[in-house]
């Protein structure tokens, strides 16, 4: 039996402390939902190396103090937490509170021999995503390094269009370039994790698995050819993913739902 190198949890889009969201019909309390997910993760019986949060930690928070408050909520997680900025985050405040050891809002870390690259695709006060030339050069360096360490990449936005008009106005503008960069590390790239879309879905491109975590708050639904505005999925529950990397090169992403009631 191949041994697990690493097991971690992927969560996304906690959107603290939005309630109710101004642009959507009445939605549930994001704090209560985040707490239900945290409780569920803490109750898992297997060891968890860390929790990776792919952005929209906060929902347009007014000041850095609110990020400290949000950190207090997420600190209830038993496992260490790593976060990246989403379009509803202030990347400077987020970095200062959650990862002040990094000089940039993007960073990488290593855990048990696995390299995790956390991108910053946020653009201040814009819903879509971008990656600066400087960040792309940093990512290129990681992807072309003579390393055989397993690599996991995390970002907030979707790199590829969903064929869904409302969501596709908010992709990473240079998604194809980012994908081409990631392909340079194809042999060691285990998966690319993202959030933003509030929907459990995966892309497969050139053999690379891109997987979302659902929002811990509420879910949307898209479909190919969708036009019009966002549609709330009132059936799909919030949840998270369990990601396991094993020594034989296998990556397993398990979907977990959480009943917030």
């Amino acid at each position: 039996m191949p041994q697990p190198l690493l097991t971690f949890i992927h969560i996304s889009d906690t959107h603290l402390y939005a309630n109710p969201h101004p642009s959507l019909p009445p939605t549930p309390n994001p704090l209560a939902r985040a707490e239900a997910v945290i409780k569920h993760i803490n109750a898992q019986v297997f060891p968890i190396d860390f929790v990776l949060h792919t952005g929209d930690v906060g929902d347009d928070l007014p000041d850095i103090e609110k990020y400290r408050e949000a950190q207090g909520v997420l600190k209830k997680l038993s496992a260490p937490l790593h976060v990246i900025p989403g379009n509803h985050d202030n990347r400077d405040w987020l970095r200062e509170v959650f990862y002040p050891h990094s000089n940039t809002p993007y960073y990488s870390f290593e855990h048990k021999g696995v390299e995790v690259a956390c991108l910053d695709t946020s653009v201040p006060n814009q819903p879509h995503g971008e990656i600066s030339e400087r960040q792309l050069a940093w990512l290129m360096k990681i992807c072309t390094a003579p390393s055989d360490k397993p690599l996991v990449v995390a970002l907030h936005h979707h790199l590829f269009p969903l064929g869904s008009l409302p969501m596709d106005t908010m992709t990473v503008k240079t998604g194809v370039t980012v994908h081409q960069t990631l392909l340079k590390a194809r042999a060691r790239l285990r998966c690319v994790l993202f959030g933003h879309v509030h929907e459990r879905l995966s892309f497969i491109r050139d053999g690379v698995l891109y997987a979302t975590a659902p929002s811990t708050w509420f879910q949307l639904k898209t479909w190919p050819g969708q036009t019009g505005s966002f549609v709330i999925d009132d059936v799909a529950l919030p949840g998270y993913n369990i990601v396991t990397l094993t020594s034989d090169g296998l990556t397993t992403v398990r979907a977990v739902s959480v009943n917030p009631a």
């Binding site: 590829f160 879905l201 977990v256």
Partner: protein, 263 residues
């Protein structure tokens, strides 16, 4: 976006039974949950090219005629249905009722220029899976054909170990052979779809991505290091919608369905 060349639903493990009240030890009859999923699929906002069912269509039917009864339960699906055998199916009867045009319980078909290979990993009266050498040779011929058509492969059992003892004791025993065969068509294999584990999961290795659909009935959960089977009371029943686009990409959307009001 690059336009969709194919959009289909992946469902699995309906476990339909000749007894309308059959629900095993579960909260809902398998008929009622299947009906809920059919309703959801038929209401999907865009037309689906077909529905692909990765096995355990029936729950140990005792007679061929039972499959005729069960077939009526899915007759209301708007898109065409393609099925393959699971460990709770009788592969001969399943084939005779659902795809008599094929001589073998494994087969391939083509829609919109996409080739779909449906495997038969069932072993009569056993829960684990095997691909016989003859079938592997058939798949090998597909994978090594001079062909640039996108290829989707479907089977019932999980081909790679989950690290969970009980579930792995009923996996596809020669999954490694399957994986090595698929690698021969790596650039064409868009995804490999399976069921059996009653858990929504993605597995990726060597550029091949395997995706399960949840059962339409009840859900299980596994984790690395797990011993016995475990149910999930929270994970939702549902299905996946798989879209292949002209640029070579695949999108797999998880769709959850409400458990039926009537148990």
């Amino acid at each position: 976006m690059s336009h969709a060349i194919l959009t289909f639903a992946h469902i699995s493990d309906t476990h339909l039974h000749e007894n309308p009240q059959f629900k095993g030890k579960r909260a809902w009859t398998s008929r009622s949950t299947t009906a809920a999923v059919i309703e959801s699929i038929n209401a999907y906002p865009v037309p689906l090219d077909f529905v692909l069912h990765t096995g355990d269509f029936g729950n140990d039917p005792l007679r061929k005629e039972h499959y005729l009864t069960l077939q009526k339960l899915v007759a209301g699906l708007t898109p065409p249905l393609h099925v393959l055998p699971g460990n709770h199916d009788h592969r001969v009867w399943l084939r005779e009722i659902f795809y008599p045009q094929h001589a073998m319980p494994y087969y391939a078909f083509e829609v919109n220029g996409v080739q779909i290979a449906c495997l038969d990993t069932s072993v009569p009266y056993q829960h684990h899976g095997i691909i016989e050498p003859e079938q592997l040779a058939w798949l090998d011929a597909i994978c090594t054909a001079e062909n640039d058509k996108p290829l989707v492969v479907a089977l019932h059992h999980h081909p790679l170990a989950l690290g969970a003892d009980a579930m792995d004791s009923i996996r596809l025993v020669d999954g490694e052979s399957l994986h090595q065969t698929l690698l021969k068509a790596r650039s064409r294999v868009k995804c490999v779809l399976f069921g059996h584990i009653h858990e929504r999961m993605m597995m990726a290795r060597d550029g091949i991505v395997y995706a399960s659909a949840p059962s339409t009935w009840y859900q299980s959960r596994t984790w690395h290091g797990q011993g016995e089977f475990a149910k999930s009371e929270v994970n939702q029943l549902g299905y996946n919608v798989v879209t292949l686009t002209a640029d070579g990409g695949v999108t797999i959307r998880a769709v959850s369905a409400n458990a039926p009001a009537i148990r």
